[in-house]
Amino acid sequence: MSKNLSNLSGRKGLQHNLYELLGNSAEANEGTPHPKDLKRLAEDFLMGRANTFGAASFYDFLKPENKGKKVYYCNGSSCMTAGTQKKVLEKLKTNFKEEEIGHMCCLGRCHENSSFHYDGKNYSGASINQIAEIKEQKTLLLDTYNVKSSGPQILTGNDLTLEEVKTSLNEILKKGREKVLEEIKSSGLRGRGGAGFPIGFKLESAKNTPSDSRFIVCNADEGDPGAYSDRYLMEFQPNKLLLGMLIAGFVVGAEWGVLYIRYEYPESLAIINKTIETLEKERLIGERILDSDFTYFFKTIKARGAYICGEETSLLSSIEGQRAEVRVRPPYPTQEGLFNKPTVVNNVETLACLPFVISKGGEAYKAIGRGKSTGTKLISLDGFFNNPGIYEVEMGTPLIEVINNLGGGLKEPIKAMHIGGPLGGLVPKEKWTDLTVDFESFSENGFLLGHASVVCIPMDFPLVKYVQHLFQFTSDESCGKCFPCRLGSKRGAEMFEKAQAGNYAIDEELLTDLLTTLETGSLCALGGGLPLPIKNALQYFRTEFEPYFSKKHLAV
């Protein structure tokens, strides 16, 4: 978090973007920016060499260790619990040198697993069997999954036509900023990225912060293993998303909408770029849209692999070409965000809801859902379900309905569902009937709706191993800024690793202290959220852990 670096990066504007230039250099140099380019970019941006070097070393697909990697297997939670990683890796090894194989954490192919990435494209399911052909560029295999809604279709169904986009734009231009903002506020729409913060407040705050420029940033860094609903929206509902960003930009007076799209979603990036081109051609974006004084441009940023960028302040630093380290708040991004300017950061799904709010009205949106959780929610179901896919349900829908009616039940018995990403709760079978799909129900029951991804944990998957995976994931993805997360996630992972190796008995009091330290001491939700699933696991599956605990504490 350096305000000076933010300023220096911002001086060049979004069209000469440091992060993009670092990425370009990496692509031209086998996966990591050339040292000469790092030096040149530092000079060009008036930064230190340490800054470009430090930034490049932060991201999975920029860091020097990425050099020469040609193929990546998915090491995300879903492919792990589905048990497909071993086979994928073995197959890859027969076709690639060991040093050419890297890993990516979740390609969003959790509905069929066996996921891998080769030459800028993702593959899953049975594709691994055709790896030789894929390598020879002979085949491109697309995935398919179910998409269905059990109620109102806000985010599923057909995407908006260009005519509908135009109508909506005309409508907001006619209504004016204030009325559009009121409409959004009245909808009660809350952020879908996990935190559930009302978007209306963010828009209002950014709008009211004095500044010569403002930004709308779409957080399309859907990093939660098991989640692929944002990928669905980008690939199948791009007009809804882009119109949502236009609406948000109109309200706050932003001239730029930035989409930060994860590296692991190459198809999403391509489709969004193509959609932007179309909208540009139709003059629905650009200078003086529809002859109004509203000018709005889009910029897509290809992320380079860092789960922490799902956290909004890290994401902003990343766009600036800095290390994606979490910033302190205040100042909130709506006060000092991208390039130190007021910025509204929202998740794909949240922004994609805005066209509905504008066309049908805030009250109509609010009428859908339950209580403070208005509207609908997309849920990502993984390959353990009979009908894996993306489902749109009204907030308040019983979870068991989603499992049985939409998901079609499970292929095999499982012991728990990990809902809401790695920092979401671990929901044991006995709690499934207690939950409804909304923010309140989950938090009241000690879980977290989060981004509503579902990763199933089969009966034979040891939770000790799963907890170690969660610690390890956090350790791998920790930005390293705050002490509890940087050190605590590492030590947690080591404790469980050593315990499973049989040469260490976990001191349960120490583990409790560690979890409390992470939960109450961490700067952001990564370290702070990690204890939730672990505590769920310890609570509901205690017997699985007891053999690994030191005897002296078992009596307590």
């Binding site: 060499r49 860092a306 330290t517 001491g521």
Partner: protein
């Protein structure tokens, strides 16, 4: 605390004040403060421990040990929050020491210790380590985690003459990274890698020495452990005492804290509460102090007999001098004697020297180095405003919206102020740089006007004209506060702007944009240096800068003004004390009978009423045989004054040359008598920095054997020559000065405190941060118009010598380098080099590192080429720190028409690849 225990408030007031609660008790809060700040204002420091927090850095929130529990109502539900970055809100209940937060802090420190060598007893910061302190505070007993991965096998970095690192001690608090970024703005440090693997890197993972480190030491001072330190182990606690004093190098006036043991200096740190430098300083202030005990220090008075210096006793040298001076005075009159006092000496010493020359010798032949630097500033600003000093304070940079830097390279010559300007620019505030060279600030500037050296007047007239043209004149200010505007405007409207742009070789549109940015800004501040003054039109340029400020109403409030960056540590003070041939102590006109009378009454002797020689006139007079004796204190005129041959000729023409010095400088080599003075570390007094801040200099160690404080030497000579003057003592001298210098009226040694006072200091002791608030010192501010006039140097020699060389300074060395070249700074910056544009280099067949012969009508020097686009075609630049080069062999003796400041900045030269392959050897006397 409440109104009954806090006498600050009455009950009514107390009830109205916004309050928050610390551990159940109410305290009055300040708007916008953090919880940590609030708690620190009322409670002892250790109550809420911190690690990543530092006084001069922004809240960062990484260590989390400052966490507290916060409730929004009494006994309400609490939330754990990091106090360093959580804003306090009214009615908050802060619980600093609940069991939960105490445990949290302890658990965090336990985690930190899983990756820290537990070798406290042998660590250099043992006893002064923040981690150690916090670990003790939170009561760590043991580390319960099994041994895991760690960073204990890092190599130490001992590559640099000053900076060191041992990253096994690093706790990843980022304080060094942030100091390098937020304080110095150098961006040498960053983290590399992610999460647990994240580690500090210098540059692109190189050593300190290979990096772009400017050795300011901010990182070492910021580091809470010994992960980044310096060769002096500044944070070790072996010192017996620390002495707060003021740096001897530039006019920023950094406060320094000097640690000593057994009369030896161990290290220097920058105090955080210093108003002038707020915990920052540069490598000269922090590290370049070892000259004081350098074996080459002069340590006995010497008299040159038969061409050889002979060590003599103080008594002998005093007798010799008294006899010689008296004899010259009797034979040739007092005006055959002249003194050059030193801006490196204290106010009290300067005051004494001018008093000696005026009251004891009986002449006004006293001048100082201001002559060769900011004499045009003093004169120009006196003419337009009435006071020849900075109108505002350094802290105003934090409030300005636009900075215009003309002819100054503060990141090298005034590093702490330079860093401050840089920081402000990095916050997005407008920066205009007018300089022929691509300086560090120019690179960062929104508008860099790279004019041809010597054309400041042309460019500033363009700016003034554009401001009028664009209707951006502050009519209100001009009407109420100034005079002479109409004539001024008429002249500007006649200006041929295109012709001026052609002459200055600048883009007219760029100048227009810069002028508009300056004029439209709500608060614009200008800074100027020797690139303004050291010109034939130097005084006029200063007056134009004043015009710019007046025409836009940028005078008399926060964040505005005209701010000369004074070169030497006490050049402001030397002039204030009367080290000028036309004004006595307090800038009183020595030709006026009432002033003469005042001085006569005060000094008790008859006073001379004729204006004395300015430095260049002294040399002329010596050559002409009119001047017979000179006493030069702490000034190497041979190396640093222009036209070296002429200076040497002048010195050699004298019957008596007395040089009071620390080292055998180029000038000292020509002396008849040498008096070994004391360095700033060995004496007391006051220095006045560039913002008129009179600060206490306090001896950290005794003068080395054989030397005396310069003030004492002068006092001894005064007494020897029959004028009774008490022994040198800072406090009593200041008392005398306060009686005669009007703007020092309220200056008292004991009241100056840690941060000094900015003059005018009123009789009641109040000081002044901003000048000309309601009215100008001279009543109305006066507009003057001046036409651009090409320097005679160019008109006479430009054809034959088509290149222009301009001289400047480096960060690492100070002036003639007598001090800095005797420190490890010389390992960082080893020689003077010649900046030359790639096209010029190519045309002359010169490549990087070639020796280039630079020839002017006065002489020639050989300098190593540094090919760079930092200068435009036709322009060269170099420094004058090394006697091996003696660049002043080629500079001219053209001077500012008004103040007689030499035109160092415009020298007509020609260049060719040198025939020689090596430089003049050190110690070789130029004859």
């Amino acid at each position: 605390m409440n109104y009954s225990t806090d006498p600050t408030y009455s009950k009514e007031e107390w009830d109205k004040m916004p309050k928050a609660f610390i551990d159940g008790k109410p305290f009055v809060m300040e708007k916008g403060e953090t919880i940590l700040n609030f708690v620190r204002r009322f409670k002892e420091k250790g109550l809420v421990p911190t690690l990543c927090d530092a006084p001069n850095l922004e809240a960062f929130g990484s260590c989390r040990v400052c966490s507290v529990e916060v409730a929004l109502k009494e006994n309400g539900p609490t939330k754990t929050m990091a106090s360093c970055h959580t804003p306090l809100t009214e009615g908050m209940y802060i619980y600093t020491s609940t069991e939960a937060v105490k445990k949290l802090r302890k658990n965090i420190i336990e985690l930190v210790l899983t990756d820290h060598p537990l070798d406290c007893l042998t660590c250099e910061v043992n006893g002064n380590c923040e981690l150690q302190t916090v670990a003790a505070q939170v009561g760590i007993r043991d580390v319960r985690y099994p041994k895991g991965e760690n960073h204990q096998d890092c190599d130490k970095d001992l590559s640099h003459p000053y900076m060191t690192s041992d990253l096994s001690k690093c706790i990843n608090c980022y304080r060094c990274v942030r100091a390098c970024d937020e304080v110095q703005g150098q961006f040498v440090l960053s983290m590399a890698g992610r999460g647990f693997d994240a580690q500090i890197v210098k540059g692109d993972n190189v050593s300190f020495m290979e990096s772009d480190c400017v050795s300011c030491g901010a990182c070492a001072q910021a580091c809470p452990t010994s992960a980044i330190s310096d060769i002096y182990q500044s944070k070790a606690i072996v010192a017996e005492k620390t002495t707060r004093t003021v740096c001897t190098y530039c006019g920023v006036g950094c406060n320094l804290e000097v640690s000593t043991t057994s009369n030896k200096i161990l290290s220097i740190q920058a105090p955080y509460d210093a108003e002038a430098n707020a915990g920052h300083t540069c490598l000269k202030g922090r590290y370049a102090f070892e000259f004081y005990k350098h074996p080459e220090r002069l340590n006995a008075p010497m008299i040159k007999r038969n061409g050889e210096f002979e060590k003599v006793s103080w008594d002998e040298v005093y007798d010799y001098l008294a006899e010689k001076l008296t004899s010259i005075k009797n034979t040739n009159g007092p005006d055959a004697i002249a003194g050059i006092s030193s801006a490196r000496c204290t106010n009290e010493e300067n005051y004494l020297m001018q008093k000696f020359i005026r009251a004891v010798v009986g002449t006004n032949n006293i001048d100082g180095c201001a002559r060769v630097c900011h004499s045009p500033t003093a004169l120009g600003m006196q003419r337009t405003f009435g006071t020849g000093a900075a109108t505002n304070s350094i802290e105003d940079i934090d409030h300005t919206e636009c900075m215009m830097v003309i002819g100054a390279n503060p990141t090298a010559a005034h590093p702490v102020t330079g860093a401050k300007i840089k920081q402000r620019a990095l916050k997005g505030k407008t920066l205009i740089v007018i300089d022929p060279r691509k300086t560090e600030l120019a690179i960062l500037a929104d508008y860099h006007i790279a004019l041809r050296p010597g054309t400041n007047v042309a460019v500033l007239n363009m700016m003034l004209r554009f401001i009028i043209e664009e209707g951006l004149v502050d009519e209100n200010f001009v009407t109420n506060r100034t005079e002479g505007f109409e004539t001024f405007k008429e002249n500007l409207l006649k200006l041929d702007v295109d012709e001026m742009a052609r002459i200055a070789k600048v883009d007219k549109d760029l100048v227009r944009k810069a002028a508009i940015a300056y004029a439209k800004s709500s608060a614009a501040m200008s800074f100027h240096g020797l690139g303004v003054t050291e010109h034939s039109q130097g005084t006029f340029t200063v007056m134009q800068i004043a015009d710019l400020a007046m025409i836009t109403g940028n005078i008399g409030r926060k964040g505005v003004g005209v701010n000369p960056l004074r070169g030497q540590n006490n050049v402001q003070g030397a002039a204030d004390m009367g080290v000028q041939p036309h004004q006595g102590a307090g800038y009183l006109d020595i030709t006026k009978p009432d002033v003469i009378k005042k001085y006569e009454e005060f000094y008790g002797v008859a006073m001379p009423g004729e204006i004395g020689y300015k430095i260049p006139e002294m040399f002329e007079a010596a050559i002409e045989g009119k001047l017979k004796a000179m006493w030069i204190i702490g000034e190497d005129v041979v190396q640093t004054d222009p036209n070296t041959k002429k200076v040497i000729k002048a010195l050699n023409s004298l019957d008596l040359l007395v040089v009071q010095e620390l080292f055998m400088t180029e000038t000292a080599k020509h002396a008849d008598v040498i008096l070994p003075g004391a360095s700033f570390l060995e004496k007391s007094g006051t220095f006045t920095n560039g913002e008129r801040r009179v600060q206490r200099v306090q001896a950290a160690v005794d003068p080395i054997e054989g030397t005396k404080p310069d003030g004492q030497i002068i006092v001894d000579m005064m007494n020897k020559m029959g004028y009774a003057q008490p022994d040198y003592d800072a406090a009593t001298m200041l008392q005398e000065i306060a009686q005669i210098v009007p703007f020092f009226a309220g200056a008292k040694w004991e009241e100056l405190g840690d941060n000094g006072k900015q003059w005018p200091i009123l009789p009641d002791g109040t000081d002044t941060k901003i000048l000309h608030g309601e009215t100008f010192r001279r009543g109305l501010g006066k507009f003057y118009y001046f036409d651009f006039k090409e320097s005679a140097e160019i008109t006479s020699h430009g054809k034959e010598y088509p290149y222009i060389i301009t001289t400047n300074r480096d960060l690492e060395h100070y002036n003639c380098g007598a001090m800095t070249r005797r420190t490890k700074n010389v390992e960082i910056h080893t020689e003077d080099v010649l900046w030359i544009n790639p096209k010029d280099a190519e045309a002359k067949g010169i490549v990087n590192g070639d020796l280039v012969c630079v020839e002017s009508p006065r002489g020639k020097v050989d300098i190593k080429a540094f090919v760079t686009d930092g200068v435009n075609e036709g322009v060269l630049s170099t420094t004058f720190h090394f006697p091996e080069i003696m660049v002043n062999n080629i500079t001219s003796d053209i001077h500012d028409s008004e103040a007689k400041c030499p035109e160092y900045k415009v020298v007509s030269v020609n260049i060719r690849k040198a025939r020689k392959t090596h430089l003049r050897k050190e110690g070789e006397v130029v004859s």
